[in-house]
């Protein structure tokens, strides 16, 4: 049973640029998928359409049984609650500390304080930041900030975690640390789709790889296949 089903998706922006042509994709529950390709090949557009930041011009996108392409703006939050998103620039609130940044995602749903506390500490433990809960983002390294962003993305226990170049701003060692956190989350059953330029990481991790080129799926490598081809 696939968690994501993309059929004949085309995306043309208002300025006339076509980002994606006739994309078909199936991603199963629990998979870890890399999406790679050169700049402007449509990677980010694809991710944006999965969490319904963008709407496809034509075609259908089904995420966890919800037809996201047809979702009205007012109902988008329903699908967002099932999806976690992580970005290259972390998107943290600098005036709030680590704990508050993560708790923020639960507070807006009106959860009791005790439950928020327990869940935030649990997830901070998972990303290895339990001892920095009272620090502010500006006091953290890039890798630590990204881990806060990951903690916030998974606090609602989403079925799907979308990562848009999460290691783009980080050095190799830190990138690997982040990858280890993501692999850990994947092991717990969360499906992960990660857009990246870092082919070194992709080759190392032996996961499914979707290669996009000029808005089309050029190749869909099964686990291990990409490494084999690159090496």
């Amino acid at each position: 049973m696939s968690l994501i089903r993309v059929r004949n998706v085309k995306k043309q922006y208002k300025n006339g640029v076509t980002a994606l042509y006739d994309v078909d994709l199936d991603i199963n529950k629990g998979e870890f998928v890399f999406v790679i390709g050169s700049t402007g090949c449509g990677k980010s557009t694809l991710i944006k359409m999965l969490y319904r930041e963008e709407k496809p011009t034509s075609g259908s996108i089904n995420v966890g049984g919800v037809e996201v392409a047809k979702l009205r703006n007012g109902k988008v939050y329903k699908v967002r609650r099932k999806i976690g998103v992580v970005f290259q620039d972390f998107k943290l609130l600098n005036r709030a500390n680590v704990y508050e940044n993560v708790a923020f995602a639960l507070e807006i749903f009106g959860l009791p304080k005790t439950e928020i506390h327990a869940r935030v500490l649990k997830v901070l433990d998972l990303v290895g930041l339990k001892n920095k809960a009272r620090h502010y983002p500006t006091e953290l390294s890039g890798g630590e900030q990204q881990r806060v962003a990951i903690a916030r993305a998974i606090i609602n226990e989403p079925k799907l975690l979308l990562c848009d170049e999460p290691t783009g701003n980080l050095d190799k060692t830190t990138s690997m640390e982040i990858m280890n956190v993501l692999l850990e989350i994947n092991k717990l059953g969360t499906t992960i789709i990660m857009v990246t330029h870092d082919t070194g990481i992709v080759a190392k991790l032996n996961k499914r790889v979707i290669l996009l080129d000029a808005g089309r799926v050029l190749k869909d490598y099964v686990e291990g296949e990409y490494k084999h081809e690159v090496l």
């Binding site: 969490y51 703006n73 007012g74 988008v76 939050y77 329903k78 967002r80 609650r81 099932k82 998103v85 998107k91 609130l93 923020f104 995602a105 507070e107 807006i108 749903f109 009106g110 959860l111 009791p112 916030r152 993305a153 609602n156």
Partner: protein
């Protein structure tokens, strides 16, 4: 419970936001304060003018002078005709003897002149004092009375009453106009404050959307912020109204310049105005922020 927790969080965030954008909030609060002070002055003025006008209207009387040599039968006839007219509230008869007695009571000069007059010699005319139900129709009624046989003249302060009524109308209209204009300006200013708040919180809004906050969830804190600005802006005007009007009332012992112009008693008047001010403050604040949210929060 969940609802109250979300509400609590929204209120907390809105309150924080008021102080985070302190300079901007102060601009809006000052604007609301000034508007509400003007509103308070306008209300105090127009209510007092209204009450004064009502008192004046109550006191305006048509004095109907009867012919000097009128017979009792003719007097009864005039009384019947007045009684049959429309818009008559009350009327009272004063005979020439009664009038003479009253005049003599008021001054010795009158007593010296009038003491020897008897009923027939007296040049004083008996009168009917007529009050009408509607001050606007006083001219019409006076005209009808003057047309009655054996009525020699009618007096009701012609011209003066009409002028007074029209001055009251102008004061009322000007104060209502000023209040409406000021309210609109304030709503616009609040709308601007909230617009800047929205821009300064773009990142937060983006994150809220990402983690699945509903539109209402995102919009409500801004509406609350407008509400707080309204309440904070109403504090000074309320204090100024309560203490200002109380001390004004005491200073002038409840009347302005003459016993003729009575001020409205401060209680419950000032509390009613305070209520009106806070309601206007909240309404203007919420309307302003709702306008900004609708225009600038495209989600």
């Amino acid at each position: 419970m969940k609802f109250f927790r979300i509400l609590g969080r929204n209120i907390r965030d809105s309150f924080r936001s008021v102080f985070r954008n302190f300079a901007l909030s102060m601009a809006s609060i000052s604007c609301i304060t000034i508007t509400l002070i003007v509103v308070a002055v306008a209300i105090i003025l127009s209510y007092n003018v209204n009450s004064f006008a009502t008192n004046v209207e109550k006191d305006v009387t048509i004095v109907t002078f009867l012919d000097v040599d009128i017979t009792p039968e003719e007097k009864d006839d005039v009384e019947d005709q007045i009684n049959n007219l429309d818009y008559i509230e009350t009327y009272r008869y004063e005979s020439k003897t009664q009038i003479a007695e009253e005049m003599m009571k008021s001054s010795e000069v009158f007593t010296n002149i009038m003491k020897d007059w008897d009923e027939k010699d007296s040049p004083i005319q008996s009168t009917f004092l007529v009050k009408v139900t509607n001050i606007d129709l006083i001219g019409e009624v006076a005209q009808k009375i003057s047309a009655i046989e054996n009525v020699s003249a009618v007096k009701y302060g012609e011209g003066m009453v009409e002028q007074l009524v029209s001055v009251f109308e102008i004061i009322k209209k000007v104060s209502i106009g000023t209040v409406i204009a000021l309210i609109l300006v304030t709503a616009f200013l609040i709308s601007n404050t909230i617009k800047i708040t929205i821009f300064s919180r773009k990142r937060e809004i983006e994150i809220m959307r990402l983690v699945g906050a509903s539109n209402i969830n995102i919009k409500i804190p801004f509406i609350f912020e407008g509400l707080f600005l309204g309440i904070l802006g109403a504090i000074i005007p309320i204090i100024a109204t309560v203490y200002g009007y109380l001390s004004l009332y005491k200073q002038f012992s409840g009347q302005l310049f003459s016993p003729f112009i009575k001020l409205i008693s401060p209680e419950p008047f000032v509390f009613l105005i305070s209520g009106v001010l806070i309601v206007i403050g909240i309404a203007v604040g919420m309307f302003g922020s709702w306008r900004a949210v609708r225009k600038h929060l495209n989600i």
